[in-house]
């Protein structure tokens, strides 16, 4: 197992490794087990799935879940539309702008969401004046929040292909820039785009700060609100959303490997 260590030391380090995994594994699994236990409590010490069934019985919660899912899809799409042409174009024609775009995309890492929302509150007064007060207007804020994650994923994708040669070959054969983008670039970095989208979906489904402080009813806002009244349902939904995010990222770990494999095949 331990490729780095020599056999004569591996006994000691194997014990240490096992102990660390056991203790920290327990620390991380215990709250998940507790959530499962708490959300299946029935009256008088019995087990019941009432809290889980209540998820679909609460129209407000169902509505909030639908809003969050729509936001996740819309934010991912907006992010792709904003980033893919810009990042491709900058690599091909405007390398001078690369630093600026990178800086702007990574900026949300240095500005906490709680600070961003202070500045967004007056901005959203205008947004809601012009576009109505649908929670879907949060798409604008979320497309900004996902920028650092999406930028890194797409940048890695673009770095792994020979963009200049591909684009010039397509241009030489008479393709328009639009065709280059849609039929050459996008298919070649599709796994990176899928990765960026999955990260965005996970982030939007878990977002609370901006939604709650701009008074929009999203999944996490509703879960928090419900918790004051019926902890069981909130805990059930919380567990569900953690497991869902885990499934997304677990899936992502396979996509990451597949991309490397394809790169080897194509290279």
């Amino acid at each position: 197992m331990a490729a780095v260590t020599k056999p004569r030391r591996s006994a000691g380090s194997a014990v240490a490794r096992f102990a660390i995994l056991l203790v920290l594994g327990g620390f991380f699994l215990l709250p998940l087990v507790a959530m499962a236990e708490f959300s299946t409590r029935g009256a008088g010490g019995t087990r019941s799935l009432a809290s889980w069934a209540a998820i679909v019985d609460d129209p407000d919660l169902v509505e909030a879940i639908l809003v969050s899912v729509q936001l996740a899809v819309a934010s991912s799409l907006l992010m792709l539309v904003l980033l893919v042409p810009t990042m491709t174009w900058i690599r091909l024609r405007l390398p001078a702008l690369r630093r600026l775009v990178e800086f702007l995309c990574l900026l949300p890492v240095a500005i906490p969401a709680i600070v961003l929302v202070v500045g967004m509150a007056p901005l959203y007064a205008w947004v809601n004046y012009f576009l109505g007060d649908s929670p879907l207007t949060l798409t604008f804020a979320y497309a900004v929040l996902v920028l650092p994650f999406a930028y890194r994923a797409i940048d890695a994708g673009l770095s792994s292909i020979d963009l200049k040669t591909l684009a010039e070959a397509a241009r030489g054969l008479g393709a328009s820039w639009g065709t280059v983008l849609v039929r050459v670039v996008v298919p070649n970095i599709r796994t990176a785009l899928l990765g960026a989208s999955l990260l965005s979906v996970a982030l939007v489904l878990g977002e609370f700060t901006i939604a709650s402080l701009l008074n929009f009813d999203t999944l996490q806002v509703r879960v928090n609100l419900l918790g004051k009244r019926d902890a069981g349902v909130s805990i059930a939904v919380s567990l569900l959303s953690l497991l869902f995010a885990f499934a997304l990222l677990f899936l992502l770990s396979f996509i990451g490997r597949r991309r490397r494999d394809t790169a080897v095949e194509e290279g």
């Binding site: 991380f28 810009t86 702008l97 961003l116 202070v118 500045g119 994650f149 953690l242």
Partner: protein, 303 residues
């Protein structure tokens, strides 16, 4: 074909003529939507916060807001935020480094590593409100562990007060997402250690201790310190978990800002919330800047 040396004017000397934005100003047009968007929804709100910190309620220039940060409840909130972030960054960095080591020693494509990395990603980056409920279910008043300890051993977890909803509780819950973040940041650094270095120490008769003391440790130190700074910035910026857990009072800066956004604002203090925001940006900015420096130093070994 070589990239054009002169910036912008690529159209004339390109091998592939044809329609499309050939001229430089047309080439710049393509990035306008992105720049306009980021300008509106990222730069503008940020500028609004920064500028507002220096404005009184009538819009005139003042340093009063910033001066207020250095006293009373606001100073205390900053000190508590720094304390919470520093403690959880240290705990997270040490425990996370150990977990990274335990995971890195296994197979790179094995199920253990996949599960740990995916799980760490969830808890570190997308936890938020669900983490607060995870701990309510575990050690809340009616939590799984609380009930178990009370019924089986007669131990009352809350004998000393409702600590879960105060700073000690936040420390515990924050550590729960700091350790996973450390794994995400530190695991690539551990992967960067070359087996040859270990073999060189072995062949020269060095022990495991020699290796970590003179080779592995010094190489990893910048990465470790950098990661600890990133963890500090992460805890300092965190809001959702604290907001869901602490509904009474505002012990830390993000919750103070919540007070300014949702509650009554005293006359003449309209822009104090923005000054708190500026204070957060400065602290997070310094931590992230140092992190970037240390990352660069560590990168020397990874070529």
């Amino acid at each position: 074909m070589v990239a054009p040396v002169t910036t912008g004017v690529g159209g004339a000397d390109r091998a592939s003529p044809g329609p499309g934005p050939g001229r430089s100003w047309l080439a710049w047009l393509v990035v306008v939507p992105f720049l306009a968007y980021v300008g509106t929804f990222l730069v503008y709100p940020t500028a609004l916060v920064l500028a507002g910190s220096f404005q009184g309620s009538d819009g005139s220039f003042t340093l009063d807001n910033l001066a207020d940060l250095t006293r009373g409840v606001y100073l205390q909130a900053f000190l508590r935020s720094v304390e919470l972030s520093a403690i959880t960054a240290l705990l997270g960095a040490v425990l996370g480094a150990l977990l990274s080591w335990a995971v890195a020693a296994g197979e790179p494509e094995g199920p253990l590593r996949r599960v740990v990395v995916a799980g760490a990603g969830v808890l570190a980056q997308f936890g938020g409100v669900p983490l607060a409920f995870a701990f309510l279910a575990t050690i809340g008043f009616q939590g799984f562990v609380t009930q178990f300890l009370r019924d089986s051993f007669g131990v009352d977890l809350f004998a000393t007060g409702a600590w879960l909803f105060e700073l000690p509780g936040l420390t515990l819950v924050y550590t729960f997402f700091q350790i996973p973040l450390m794994v995400i940041v530190f695991l690539p650094a551990l992967d960067g250690l070359r087996p040859q270095w270990r073999e060189a120490v072995d062949s020269l008769g060095g022990s495991s201790w020699t290796y970590w003391r003179h080779v592995g440790g010094p190489i990893l130190l910048p990465a470790f310190l950098g990661a600890a700074l990133l963890l500090f910035a992460n805890a300092f910026s965190a809001y959702a978990t604290a907001a869901a857990l602490v509904s009474q009072g505002s012990p830390i800066v993000p919750l103070q800002i919540r007070g300014f956004l949702t509650g009554e604002v005293l006359l003449g203090q309209e822009n104090l919330g923005k000054a708190l925001g500026l204070g957060m940006v400065v602290v997070v900015g310094v931590a992230m800047g140092l992190y970037a420096l240390l990352q660069r130093r560590f990168a020397r070994w990874q070529r």
